[in-house]
């Protein structure tokens, strides 16, 4: 939220001027409005308390409008409740450069402040955008504040091998049928594309998680530090309301004693894996230690966690920004990362899926190997390709990736690493004397003029652009943090069996920390029914 100009508003002078103009067009006092808007920003920066702010302006507002119902109050309160904390705790997030604040809180605060400067003066000239729209735009723009882990999942790349499902069970020591990660294949009423429709369904780690909202204990919570939606196993009372309120069906209750003890899990991670962490409790940025990872204890709720032990660096720095499922997925259909950062895998893939696919697919030669191969070879295209053992297509795609890359190599995900490798390879070739920006070479590579559009066409043709991009059940208002590419399941979508490459859940298994193999089960009820007292074998 830093700006170069002198404007009080994070969106800068332009916004401020626009705001003033709009205020001038209304029947109300624009000076008061601007003054309030400035102080509202001070509130968000923590220089002024909300109470002081309210105190300062209450009378003026009453005089001007005859009522004082500024939406900030509601926005603050909402944010406050969502943050499980006090106003001051929340505002402290906005000190310094504001980078640390949780995105959600920031959005609400930003929106609230913007409303003060704007929203209360409902009448706006025709032709001007509606205030709400502008606030919405403000919200969009201030992305990039704080970490929000999330995923981009390319369903058209998923081949239904269920490796992610087993990897999750293995990492988290889940009981049979507790498929935190779940993959299903479905038929829909829309015409078949020839490709099977699949859905990869982890928890969506919603920004407006209904499960968190309804929880009577705060056990289900969103972490301030990175937006993960987790369950505190020490607090949960097992009312299951979170599972009821979740529109996706991602929760798994621990109906009985888990099959593996906490001691066994701890022993495995600390002794066999030599980790400092037991993969169950993790230390939050605010110093709290909470039991939120691995399988749940009896009588509490569990679901996909997006691996907080990894994100908190307790499995080593290289595991930060990864999840078990993402790492296991052979075709690279799952991209995990900070969706607020433009350079994370998840964001890179989301902004350009065919390029993302290319980055999954391409394996550029290493810099040193390429240098060695090219040593002594001529510098015309044909000789370079031959010496490097590449075909035209490889080079074309590598160059296309280079052309379309806005932040080549930036970021710390796998995709950034591949970008770096590609750039290095392209640089070696250039250094060898082949000018890849030469019109003729570009032409020979099939890259047209070598501009981004041409390169994009090449990537789209090669890897296909996905049918659609969607958020799951978006109209539920949950603001999920998973972006999907592929076929969006419609209201008539129905799961079919088996999933994917003809593989059935029952055919697969995963290893648990105690060394036992757990056979996977699709329908957990089959497992649970064994312990039901007086199971009638019928259903309502």
């Amino acid at each position: 939220m830093s700006t170069d100009d002198e404007s009080f508003h994070p969106l800068g002078n332009e916004w401020e001027n626009e705001l003033e103009e709009m205020l001038d067009d209304t029947e109300y006092d624009s000076d008061l409005g601007m003054e309030m808007a400035q102080d509202a920003m001070r509130v968000t920066k923590g220089e002024l308390s909300e109470a002081e702010f309210h105190e300062m302006y209450h009378d003026d507002v009453m005089e001007e409008f005859g009522e004082d119902q500024r939406p900030t109050e509601a926005a603050y309160e909402e944010a406050q409740a969502a943050e499980e904390g006090t106003m001051s705790r929340m505002l402290s997030k906005f000190e310094g450069d504001g980078e640390e604040g949780r995105r959600d809180a920031m959005k609400k605060m930003g929106a609230g402040a913007a409303f003060v400067g704007l929203g209360a003066w409902g009448t706006v000239d025709d032709g001007e955008p509606e205030p709400q729209e502008q606030v919405a735009a403000a919200q969009e723009d201030d992305g990039g504040d704080g970490t929000q882990w999330g995923m981009t999942i390319d369903l058209e790349r998923c081949d239904g091998c269920l490796t992610c499902v087993t990897a999750c069970g293995n990492e988290n020591n889940l009981d049979q049928g507790v498929n935190w990660m779940y993959v299903l294949e479905f038929e829909d009423s829309t015409p078949q594309t020839g490709r099977p429709n699949r859905l990869v369904r982890p928890c969506q780690h919603c920004t407006d998680a209904p499960c968190e909202k309804v929880c009577p204990t705060t056990a289900r919570h969103t972490r301030d530090q990175d937006g993960l939606v987790l369950t505190d196993y020490d607090v949960c009372i097992g009312c299951r309301y979170c599972q009821v309120a979740c529109p996706y069906g991602v929760n798994y209750f621990q109906w009985d004693e888990p099959d593996i003890s906490t001691d066994q899990i701890e022993e495995y991670y600390t002794e066999e894996q030599g980790m400092d962490s037991d993969h169950m409790t993790t230390t939050y940025e605010n110093g709290e230690e909470r039991w939120v990872d691995s399988r749940a204890p009896r009588g509490t709720m569990s679901k996909c966690t997006m691996c907080p032990t990894r994100q908190d660096g307790e499995m080593g720095e290289d595991m930060v920004g990864t999840t078990a499922c993402e790492q296991a997925c052979p075709p690279g259909a799952i991209q995990f990362g900070d969706v607020n950062s433009d350079t994370s895998d998840a964001s890179k893939y989301a902004t350009n899926p065919s390029r993302g696919r290319a980055l999954q697919w391409l394996s550029p030669p290493s810099e040193s190997a390429l240098e060695e191969d090219l040593d002594g070879a001529d510098d015309d295209l044909e000789s370079v390709l031959e010496a490097a053992g590449l075909d035209v297509e490889d080079l074309m795609l590598m160059k296309a990736v280079g052309i379309t890359g806005e932040s080549m190599g930036e970021g710390d995900g796998d995709m950034a690493a591949t970008e770096t490798d590609i750039q290095a390879a392209l640089d070696v070739i250039e250094a060898h004397g082949l000018d890849l920006d030469d019109e003729d070479i570009l032409d020979e590579l099939g890259l047209g003029d070598g501009d981004a559009d041409d390169a994009q066409v090449v990537l789209d043709q090669q890897y296909g652009s996905p049918e659609s991009s969607f958020l799951l059940q978006e109209d539920m208002g949950t603001n999920p943090n998973i972006t999907y590419f592929g076929h969006e399941p419609g209201p008539n979508a129905e799961q079919t069996e088996p999933t994917g490459t003809g593989v059935e859940y029952a055919d697969l298994s995963y290893e648990r920390a105690d060394g036992e193999m757990v056979d996977m089960v699709d329908n957990r009820k089959e497992v649970l029914d064994e312990e039901t007292v007086g199971d009638a074998g019928v259903s309502l």
Binding site: G238, A245, G249, D256, R298, Q495, N523, K525, V533
Partner: protein, 453 residues
């Protein structure tokens, strides 16, 4: 109608006497309740896996089932009970005075059963206090479950106060005829009683009644209980504004039925046909008919809007509901009762008390079934109904069924115990009845004067 005159002796009679039937019923109820406690202990030991529940989604089950269905049912009975009694006081429906206290007691018993269900339903009841109270200031802002617990507690306190206040009057006046065994209880209940307070209490009770009547639709069974479900867009079988009025009417039908049954039981056991007259039952039955009509009307609304041209998910859920044998049974039971009640108003000879009891039982069964299927249908047909390979299935386990018998046993026990300690019919009701029927009988009149003095 009886020619007997109601007297203090009548309402004192249950206290201190123990008939064989009483003991048999007490033992039977204690056994059933005890059996459930044992079953619950087993559930605590094994975990919730002993139920027929599972996760919805790839868990192929229903998250909530009979425990929650029965919870709503009991809360409904409870809320309706107090509304009935409040209406008697507020609207001066003196005719029902003899059953008002029973209705209040039914509220306390029903709320206890409902509260018990909350605990039975939880995976970790041991954390109830620390986890809920410890975070109350935060969760009360947005968790409908916390609203529920809050309002149920408030209602319990309100009703208990209400009952305690009105009991002071009776106990003071009847003290001589009450057994000394419970002296400490009576002492405590009448602590600091003075006759001047009667008027104040009367006014307080009136205000309490008003609070109850206002809170019922806004907060209680027309509010937070349906909001547990109605606010969730993920479950089309639940989502929507109709649930408030629907829950409230179901509560009132259940409660009137409950009061009919309890009143009939007391009337039979203690020969109170001159106190709880046929007239009272006819009146209650008519009210029952009225609320049955509202119940069916709101069901009709849901079916028409859910089936005519509804969004896919709503249509699927409503189609499944309307074709479900449990739902159909519930509707037939309520419709049948309604038909009977209308018939007996046209032709009074059709009225008999056993028939009234059958009608009440039919409605209570109907509302229980409706609640059960309502809760379960939400999970079987969610908005995101993609999990066709793991379709939702649920049937209550033996332990869940036993909970139903257990809580009924618990509520009956409550009445059996309370009836041995305090009068379950208000002294005011007797005084009032005598005012109506006791003219010309000097002795009775004299006693009444004495009491009033």
């Amino acid at each position: 109608m009886s020619t007997k005159t109601p007297s203090e002796g009548d309402i004192i009679r249950p206290i201190g006497s123990f008939s064989k039937q009483f003991i048999a019923l007490f033992v039977a109820c204690a056994l059933v309740f005890g059996a459930f406690l044992v079953a619950w202990a087993y559930q605590l030991q094994q975990g919730m896996i002993v139920t027929g529940l599972s996760d919805w989604g790839s868990g192929g089950g229903a998250t909530w089932g009979l425990y929650i269905g029965a919870f709503i049912w009991w809360v409904g009975i409870a809320h309706g009970g107090i509304i009935l009694s409040a209406a008697v006081r507020l609207l001066g429906m003196d005719r029902y005075m003899p059953v008002a206290r029973l209705a209040e007691m039914l509220t306390l018993a029903g709320l206890s059963a409902a509260g018990f269900y909350i605990i039975v339903h939880m995976g970790r009841p041991d954390r109830m206090v620390t986890s809920i109270l410890g975070h109350y200031h935060i969760t009360v802002n947005n968790s409908p479950l916390v609203w529920d617990v809050t309002v149920i507690t408030a209602y319990f306190v309100l009703t208990a106060t209400y009952l305690a206040l009105t009991l002071r009057y009776d106990i003071t006046r009847l003290r001589d005829q009450l057994p000394d065994l419970f002296e400490p209880i009576y002492k405590m209940m009448t602590l600091g009683y003075t006759e001047e307070e009667d008027e104040i209490v009367e006014r307080m009770v009136w205000w309490l009644a008003l609070a109850i009547i206002i809170m019922a639709p806004l907060l209680l069974h027309g509010g937070v209980i349906p909001w547990l479900f109605a606010v969730l867009p993920g479950m089309p079988a639940w989502f929507g504004a109709v649930q408030g009025p629907q829950f409230l009417t179901i509560a009132l039908t259940s409660a009137i039925s409950g009061v009919i049954i309890v009143a009939y039981a007391f009337r039979r056991a203690y020969d109170w046909d001159h106190i709880m007259t046929d007239d009272v039952f006819r009146g209650l039955l008519l009210w029952l008919g009225f609320f049955c009509l509202l119940f069916l009307w709101l069901q009709l609304q849901q079916n028409v809007t859910g089936l005519f041209a509804a969004p896919v998910s709503t249509d699927v859920a409503q189609t499944a509901t309307i074709g479900h044998p449990v739902y159909i049974t519930a509707m037939v039971l309520v419709l049948g009762t309604l038909a009977y009640i209308f018939a007996q108003t046209i032709r009074p000879s059709l009225f008999t008390k056993p028939r009234a009891i059958v009608a009440a039982l039919a409605v209570l069964t109907g509302t229980l079934l409706e609640k059960l299927i309502f809760v379960v249908e939400g999970f079987l047909h969610p908005e995101f109904e993609i999990y066709a390979a793991t379709p939702g299935e649920y049937f209550p386990s033996a332990i869940e069924w036993l909970s139903l018998a257990g809580t009924i046993g618990m509520v009956v026990l409550f009445f059996l115990v309370v009836a041995k300690i305090v009068p379950v019919v208000e002294l005011h009701a007797i005084e009032h009845l005598r005012g109506d029927h006791g003219h010309g009988e000097d002795t009775e009149h004299a006693t009444e004067q004495e009491v009033k003095a």
